[in-house]
């Protein structure tokens, strides 16, 4: 499977340098968490797992705090696209902030599916902040058990 990482348009060298400096600083931070920050920003391109089973693939995607209606899963010519928007948690204007690591904004992840996936029978569900997409394989590519009779 090919993965295409989504990038925000525009490139600002100054900002990129600052980001690199921040990331190097982060390496020395014991509290550093590579899930939301870092060279591979997992926020704009959420981390996924793809598990393969005999008759289907399952895609798991961590989307904590994302509402079901804000997630859009679509398929076009065997390219699966997960996109959506994560909203910032609500708090009053007078709030005194001690720590702010949550990320909000839009995200997208694209995944090229193998030919064996049947695009018509894809199912997706959200539970406990995890998106689970079930991609059944076509009937003709499923491994079949052929019984051998011993006479």
């Amino acid at each position: 499977m090919n993965l295409v990482r989504w990038r925000t348009p525009g490139f600002d060298p100054g900002q990129e340098l600052e980001r690199l400096q921040n990331e190097i600083n982060h390496l020395f931070d014991l509290d550093y968490n590579d899930r939301s920050m870092g060279l591979f920003d997992r926020a704009t391109s959420p981390a996924i797992d793809v598990a393969e089973q005999n008759d289907h693939f399952i895609v798991y995607c961590d989307l904590p705090g994302v509402d079901q209606k804000d997630v859009d899963v679509s398929i076009a010519s065997n390219v699966l696209t997960i996109k959506g928007e994560k909203k910032m948690s609500e708090r009053g204007e007078k709030a005194k902030i001690f720590r702010k690591e949550e990320w909000a904004g839009s995200f997208q992840r694209t995944l090229s599916l193998p030919k064996s996936v049947d695009p018509d029978r894809i199912q997706a569900e959200m539970a406990d902040g995890v998106l689970r997409i079930q991609l059944p394989k076509r009937e003709e590519v499923k491994p079949r058990q052929i019984s051998v009779n011993v006479s």
């Binding site: 499977m1 705090g65 948690s89 708090r91 709030a95 949550e102 406990d128 995890v130």
Partner: protein, 121 residues
Amino acid sequence: MATTATNKELETRRTVRPVGNIWEEEGTVMLRLEMPGVTKDNIELRIENDQLFVRGHRDMHDEDQTYVIRERVRGDFAQTYTLDDTIDRERIDARMERGILTVTLHLKEAVKPRKIEVKAR
């Protein structure tokens, strides 16, 4: 000691620190921690002396899966916070929703800002 017990628990299973926001608002301190894949029943929230211990257990069922891509972070979400004297230990609420744990710590009445009315004569 409370801290040693906590450390021992952490050693047995891989843990990651949950990403989150912490803020103070209207007499409460709010903790909003991202714990995708953790259900309400898998949250452990405990106070020992001045330590607030948060742990979200998540099971990835890795043993019966064959992965083509595996990027998600493995391990439980765990973090210990130290509470100061301004936090009311008896009034702590927690809520789990869409993979986000929200803990509401109430400040003690005595430390809340109080408005004193000025009477005119």
